[in-house]
Symmetry: C2
């Protein structure tokens, strides 16, 4: 064993999450560095799905809404996510997609600043957030402007025209981590509200929405939270805004008394008014089961492991591979739980890696991205991934026609 | 065997769907007359869910988007639903909730009639449709009016101020069936567009959106389509409107090239522009598997069975039970696949029925509602339900404190 392998093994011996690895179903022969795109299947999910499908739905049928308290599942799951992101009970609800939740939160935020017209965002935001803002701007037709600047220019762009600063905390492409507390403070200083997208934060690093004074937030259930493909998303409304905002999507589950079947809409109290349609019980249940894997997890310890894994990865890739340029911030304090490199033939390189069992992903035009999920990833995995990457780069084995063929989803 | 039982048995012998009953998991001791609220579990769903969770998600992980073509699942499921409602391929997409789809379709419709301000609906519409319209009206803040009339007054209320006539074809409470083709024609005659909610139609009776010239439609996956609790909903956009409408909820899955990750939104062609966030693969897969049960089903034959079941139910209830007043239209041509009765102590009556294994549901303030789903219901079931109802009414066994206790979900 060489010195690096010995080092990796030593690091793994101190891994407080080593015992949790067995609670995830990792396919044989795969090193999965894409938990930031779709989390691995938690071992408890299949049995929970069987129960929900065969027993709750199959046996209880319509009675399950009461017998299994399906009706409050969005709130229960919301509170469990809230515990991971510094959100008090009753401030988070789970459901719909991240995009739809961005729409709800952005519309709510704009309604609190009717005299201001600027939605400030950055070009590292995930495109769907920007698309939703563009659609809302056009729908409202009240002269709002979506101002998109570079991430490092956000602070300077904050002024008293800004109604909402809408940012994704961790850049999906580069892993760059915004200073949530600092930017929120600065936004508030000019009277702007904040909407944080936690898609690459929740379950990946410590988040403290309450401590940061964030106004609104949304996030994703299928990345670090391991809720399954297209899992329900979540949203957060700070307690002080809950009584003051109107829901733009006013479905019956956000009604004060859904089962009174009144003809007139009356908002439910609190964050519940942001619920819309009938909750998706199957996928919410999968997410609920997946959250079991976060029970007892110290997010600071998880962050320490994530940093350790990604630092090892950066060091070894830079030591072993020519032509890969680090895109992510080198300072781990400014980086989320992913590391990205630029490589001219990034698409083909990623296909070659996947072919060898190292799964990361590619983001156009030339970025290869690797996510680090300490609950099911070891330093030895990371080192093995580096060895395979080194071999592919050294032998140019990415340069085969089959690795250049574009798939529908990249 | 008495004459009625013999009659029921004879009717069942001619049931073309008798062999399908075994393809649904009916709990022992239950006569389920609530498939219009939550459809029964199709026997094929558990295995499909196991595959999707354990093999597709568990083994393929992120690769499943291509390997199992998850990305097009909303369109594939949409086309399968389309085949049941007279919608051409490429006009229906599955996803989100009915409420959210009402929002999308109503906003799209209003954008095509900018000079008109009236949304016409009726008080038999499911409340969430009205709530969504109220929310959209307030959000747009352009002087729209939601005009809600009695169902029989809709036709007279159609005039050249109406932008959209938004109706649920089958009244969730009474089962009253609107004349979709006739009302659509009359709406078009005054220049109004139509938005049909098929929540209690799809999978329950023949629907011909194309033939009726309907403009927009939405519907529910968890009622007669048996897609599971909170299953994805669907929406329909007539071909001629597809190039002309803008999506109000502009998420990345409705983008022309989602994986180009452009900063600017450009709508996808056709109905795909109405997609929003990442599709909920687990629940979409359950719905997809459930739709297998409609393969080869002649909707006219299904309708004939539904009428036969509900006619028997009405006749026997009226013959056997005092105090129940038929709320549904007596003429089956004007009725969907459910039958409702008014009963002063409707809530307690339904609880007592459920306690005896006859599951229908209650709609405030005093309606007991029974749905008829020919794929898994026989005339003998219906007759047995009538016998139990007769006994409960005759002995006033509903009048026990435990049957009056209100549950959270009624």
């Amino acid at each position: 064993m060489d010195a690096v392998s010995a080092h990796a093994r030593t690091l793994d011996e101190g891994n407080p999450f080593a015992a949790r690895r067995g609670r995830f179903r990792l396919p044989d022969g795969v090193i999965y560095l894409d938990g930031n795109s779709l989390g691995v299947l938690p071992a408890a999910v299949p049995e929970r799905m069987r129960q929900v499908v065969e027993t709750q739905w199959g046996e209880s049928l319509i009675r399950a809404w009461n017998e299994h308290d399906w009706i409050d599942l969005p709130q229960r799951v919301g509170d469990r996510i809230g515990a991971l992101i510094g959100a008090a009970p009753g401030t988070v609800t789970a459901g719909d997609s991240t995009s739809i939740n961005v729409f709800k939160m952005l519309a709510a935020a704009l309604s609190l600043r009717p005299e201001r017209k600027v939605i400030l965002s950055d070009n590292g935001n995930f495109p769907t957030d920007l698309y939703v803002a563009q659609g809302l701007r056009d729908l409202l037709d009240k002269g709002h402007e979506l101002k998109v600047v570079a991430p490092q220019e956000v602070e300077a762009a904050l002024d008293d025209t800004v109604a909402v600063m809408m940012l994704t905390e961790v850049d999906y492409r580069t892993g760059r981590l915004h200073d949530m507390a600092g930017l929120t403070r600065k936004a508030h200083a000019v009277g702007a509200l904040t909407l944080w997208d936690l898609a690459h934060s929740a379950g990946a690093l410590p988040v403290d929405l309450g401590g940061a004074g964030a106004d609104f937030a949304v996030g994703c259930g299928y990345k670090y939270l391991n809720g399954g493909p297209g899992a329900p998303a979540f949203l957060y409304v700070a307690p002080e805004h809950q009584p003051r905002i109107a829901a733009p999507l006013t479905g019956w589950m956000g009604h004060e008394a859904p089962f009174a079947f009144d003809l007139d809409y009356r908002p439910a109290p609190g964050v519940d008014k942001m619920r819309v349609g009938t909750p998706p019980i199957l996928s919410l249940s999968a997410l609920d089961a997946a959250l079991d894997e976060f029970d007892g997890v110290d997010m600071a310890a998880l962050r320490a492991q994530s940093v350790s894994l990604s630092e090892l990865f950066i060091a070894e890739v830079e030591r072993r591979c020519d032509g890969l340029e680090l895109v992510s911030p080198r300072d781990h304090a400014r980086r989320g739980s992913q590391v990205s490199f630029r490589f001219e033939h990034g698409y083909a390189l990623m296909q070659a890696l996947i072919d060898r069992g190292v799964i990361g992903d590619f983001r156009a035009p030339d970025v290869v991205r690797f996510g680090f999920t300490p609950l099911y990833l070891s330093h030895e995995d990371v080192l093995r991934a580096c060895e395979i990457l080194e071999d592919i780069v050294a032998t140019r084995s990415w340069d085969q026609p089959r690795f250049h063929k574009r798939a529908k989803v990249t």
